[in-house]
Symmetry: C2
Subunit: 270 residues, 2 copies
């Protein structure tokens, strides 16, 4: 399936699965949409916390069509599953946001660790959640974020069990993708970052950690959803964790050797 | 002190300290000298185990003068402290090896993790043994090596405690130095690699691991000394752990961005 086909199916409510393992090689992105009055402060928040919130594109207000990641793709319909947030609560999950769109909304697309999973697998490092076709395990932590305006809170991380002999190499490989979370934020010892039960992820699916494997943690683009809960904004929209926006850009465009991604395109309006 | 000055002092028995922290910026090397009959098999052993035994230069037989790392420097006198091995036992430590040199000896210079310590410190990652001017902690492990001829055994690792927030970055930084051990071989959980008491290093000095720090392990050029013990060669000479050969080449020559080091120069004789 091409990204365009996946987005078309999503728009027709014909695709509602986690997107990991689909459209190999293409950049997937986290999405946050906010009323314009919060947009500048949220952009500042992302720039202060680039590991969990790597900005790839900002769209709107007045438009919901991507220009950089997938020119013309409408963010109102092309994500498989959305979450509607009111006063810090996720109150609906919906297949499109036609009923909620206003031209006051600004859409933020943030990098996603799925982009470096291809490089890990090519590097000979197996990923259990990809093999088992489940959603990656994600956890709330006690790692503090730098606040901006009303936005504050703690980092969410994704976790992959890696054989002890491959952990260093996994760091080197993912470190080459600084625009999509980069190298791990933590390795081993979940309790050091406030994770008390590794078998109970806060988002996504649990995954077995076998003997001689070490849990490796990367900053995660679900972090803004944790922040929205704390910030209690009257209104926001996000993707549902694991149900990403699938773009037309290749992951390899975001490797350091390729000189990073195409750069953030900011809307002229804000 | 320049490398040339340190080597001259060593040759006059006026310098007999661990070399970490001296001659910042210059490549330091591990040394193994063997009778010619073992040289080809030892070279093969190094090539099969490049993480602990990264070959930088081979000298002799018939000469003890470096051509690549420090042109003209005599390996018989310019290392601060040597070990003489007989039948797998270290039986003397000596300030020069004039009494043991024969023109049958082949000298191997192997990369040393001191080369990437400068890059770690420049990257904002403090190293306790450098701050405290002690020798780095080194441990025997149960990580098996690939054997070649009589050479076999387990890897020796060096350990540096790193704050949990900097471990991923430490991997990325050292991964850029593949010719001097590269990224860590193991992170956290000493018992996974057969280290039962982290407070008791097998070589070098112990170092405190503070709360929120993680022990990070790199392949170590002392590995051949562990192998010599197992192999029980009739005769061999090495540097003493931590008392390295200090070369005239810069560490930055060995970074990936510089296209690695100058390449191994093999003697024509073997």
């Amino acid at each position: 399936m091409t990204p365009k086909e996946l987005r078309k199916l999503s728009a027709e409510a014909g695709f509602s699965k986690p997107t990991a393992g689909f459209c190999d090689g293409y950049v997937q992105a986290n999405m946050v949409a906010l009323p314009q009055q919060y947009a500048l402060e949220f952009e500042s928040f992302c720039r202060k916390n680039p590991k969990p919130c790597p900005l790839l594109e900002i769209i709107g207000p007045g438009s919901s069509a991507s220009k950089v990641l997938a020119p013309g793709a409408d963010l109102v319909t092309t994500i498989p599953l959305y979450r509607i947030w009111e006063d810090g609560q996720c109150c609906h999950e919906v297949f499109d946001i036609k009923a909620f769109y206003t031209d006051d909304l600004v859409f933020f697309l943030l990098g996603c660790s799925f982009s470096f999973e291809e490089a890990l697998i090519k590097g000979g490092i197996p990923l259990r959640h990809v093999e088992q076709k489940t959603n990656v395990s994600m956890y709330r932590t006690n790692i503090p974020l730098t606040s901006a305006g009303p936005f504050q809170g703690e980092m969410v991380v994704s976790m992959r069990p890696i054989h002890r002999s491959m952990v260093g190499q996994a760091c080197v490989i993912t470190g080459a993708y600084p625009d999509v979370h980069g190298e791990p934020i933590h390795i081993g010892y979940p309790e050091m970052i406030g994770i008390n039960d590794i078998s109970q992820p806060d988002y996504g699916d649990p995954v077995e950690i076998k003997p001689m494997e070490i849990p490796v943690f990367w900053a995660c683009g679900v972090t803004p959803q944790n922040v929205l809960m704390k910030t209690k904004l009257p209104f926001a929209i996000t993707h549902a964790p694991g149900y990403m926006f699938v773009s037309d850009l290749k992951n390899e465009n975001y490797a350091v050797s390729a000189g990073h991604g195409p750069g953030l395109i900011r809307p002229k309006e804000i």
